[in-house]
């Protein structure tokens, strides 16, 4: 394979080839990583935490407490699982706790922008490099052990705190047939809805308006869907995001808004581990799919749309999956839209009417399905 060696990278998103040079093959680079892997496994950790995400055990081992503060809070509502067969263990280290990590972080000089993602996706090993090399994730699928390496845990990128380990979670949970979707999720004991929508469509506003209106909250931006026997949604992060100009609409959230280190273009982040009044639901059965759309009206209403239109909306979430996972994710999304009714959530200026509209829809779908299907929220 000498021909063309050292200049091969496929740009998936743009559908074009980008040639890059490399001074070493990935296989030799992987050998280097494997030697570092044993070093990382032998390092002490300051603490650990266990979580259950959509029924899958995640075990985090923190190199230091700065890491714990940055990463664990978003998973706070999912604490409690015990490591078991099939669980994923993630070791989190920075240069303070693992100086030899410099061997990896110091060798990458990546072209592209701040949000470009570099991926090696093999059956045995996966590397995900983000933030121009400042966020490095490696996974050994033979042992289900991953490492998250950063230069300094205290300076984790702002947005990573709202959705830590997102790409790793998307892929690992996708392998367990739990697919990440870019949607909010709210509901009650009888079931809930997914709320899709592009940036600025009112997805977060709609979800957060349900917090104090007797509807449970599972997500405002990212959640998981599964289809084992019927459609379910599962919470992954107990966080929310809101445009700074909209903060005034939710005065009860204001004291908890995290704005430190926030780039101007980013939304304010809420991590609900420090909001005792907010109870984040772990999961509930799904009753409908909604597409948020801001209208000029006052009261929020619903308008039925076709399965094909719903599929187009849900399909946008395949961008949150690596190429090798997209067909499977789309298969799930296809089944989802065939099993659930879909509506445009026509958002009005009267925020209080949004949870009312959702609650009425849930009551209606429950009446249609009957009370006997036994699907209750967790």
């Amino acid at each position: 394979m000498a021909e063309g060696k050292g200049k091969r990278v496929m740009e998936i998103a743009g559908g074009q080839q980008t040639a890059l040079s490399s001074s070493s093959t990935a296989s030799s680079w992987m050998d280097s990583f494997r030697s570092l892997q044993s070093y990382l496994l032998d390092l002490p950790c300051s603490s650990a935490a266990n979580y259950s995400i959509a029924g899958n055990a995640l075990h985090l081992k923190f190199g230091n407490e700065r890491f714990r503060d940055q990463v664990s809070r978003a998973f706070h509502h999912l604490e409690g699982a015990h490591p078991s067969e099939g669980s994923l263990t993630v070791l989190l280290h920075d240069l303070h706790t693992a100086p030899r990590v410099e061997d990896i972080l110091g060798t990458l000089d990546l072209p592209g922008g701040e949000t470009d993602i570099w991926l090696v996706d093999r059956p045995d090993l996966m590397f995900i490099v983000q933030r121009q090399g400042r966020l490095f994730t490696a996974v050994d699928w033979r042992t289900n052990t991953a490492c998250l390496l950063v230069p300094d845990a205290a300076s984790m990128p702002y947005i990573e705190r709202a959705a830590p380990l997102k790409l790793l979670m998307s892929h690992w949970l996708g392998m367990q047939a739990r697919y990440l979707v870019h949607a909010a999720a709210v509901g009650n004991a009888n079931g809930g809805v997914l709320i899709f929508g592009h940036g600025g469509a009112g997805k977060s506003t709609a979800a957060l308006s349900c917090l104090n209106a007797g509807l449970g909250y599972a997500a405002d931006d990212h959640c998981l869907v599964s289809l084992d026997d019927s459609p379910w949604v599962h919470s992954i992060y107990c966080t929310g995001k809101l445009a700074v100009e909209d903060l005034g609409r939710f005065p009860s959230l204001l004291p908890g808004a995290e704005l430190v280190d926030r780039p101007d273009e980013e939304k304010a982040v809420f991590i609900f581990d420090r909001f005792p009044a907010v109870s984040v639901s772990r999961s509930f059965p799904l009753r409908a799919i909604l597409l948020a759309r801001i209208t000029g009206g006052v009261r929020t209403g619903l308008r039925r749309i076709s399965s094909a239109e719903a599929f187009r909306v849900v399909t946008s979430s395949c961008a949150w999956h690596f190429p090798s996972m997209r067909s499977r994710a789309l298969g799930c999304f296809n089944a989802l839209v065939r099993q659930l009714p879909a509506y445009v959530l026509e958002l009005g200026s009267d925020f209080d009417s949004t949870p009312d509209a959702i609650r009425e829809l849930l009551d209606q779908t429950l009446d249609e399905k009957g009370m006997g299907d036994g699907r209750k929220a967790d």
Binding site: M1, G4, K5, G6, K7, R8, V9, M10, E11, I12, A13, G14, G15, T18, L20, S21, S22, S23, S24, T25, A26, S27, W29, M30, G106, T107, L108, D109, L110, P111, G112, T115, D116, I117, W118, L119, V120, D121, R122, F127, H182, H198, S306, S307, A308, E309, F311, R312, T315, S316, C318, A319, F322, P323, R326, S327, L330, G331, N334, R338
Partner: protein, 149 residues
């Protein structure tokens, strides 16, 4: 027709779904989402069955073929499906049985034939470009090493 070849969906990249009122295609690599008109969906179905591109007019219109049939439109549509990466060449050892039992031509006997259409949507592609994924070929290596000093 210009192209007498036979084609099939590139199922490695293309997800194909038929709903009650619409046929949709998703290119999982580029993120493009496509919506097919009913006549476009019928053409794709025939191609998937192994119908050669040059036989599409007969398969669509049957023996009622006449000079007025929109041969050019059908040719252009097949070319578009190819250029979008939806169709790939089919191996020649997969013959189309012209005598086999199959659905009657949908547009025989003067039935209205709306032009085949393929609408492309960029929603997913736009999202992919926000956080572009560069998949590195493991055999050829990682991006260049940083030069010390």
């Amino acid at each position: 027709m210009d192209n007498a070849g036979t084609y099939k969906l590139d199922r490695a990249r293309i997800v194909f779904e038929q709903f009650e009122d619409e046929t949709v295609l998703v290119n999982t690599e580029t993120g493009y989402y496509y919506s097919l008109s009913p006549s476009g969906s019928e053409i794709l179905r025939l191609l998937e069955e192994g119908c050669p591109a040059e036989s599409l007019v007969h398969a669509l219109f049957g023996n009622s073929y006449s000079i007025s049939h929109p041969t050019g439109l059908i040719e252009s549509f097949v070319k578009r499906l190819k250029s979008e990466g939806i169709l790939v060449d089919r191996a020649s050892d997969h013959p189309f049985d012209t005598n086999g039992e199959r659905r009657a031509p949908l547009y025989a006997d003067g039935a209205d034939f709306p032009p085949p259409a393929l609408d492309r949507f960029d929603d997913v592609r736009d999202l992919l470009l926000i956080d572009p994924i560069h998949q590195v070929d493991a055999e050829y290596g990682w991006p260049k090493a940083k030069v010390n000093g």
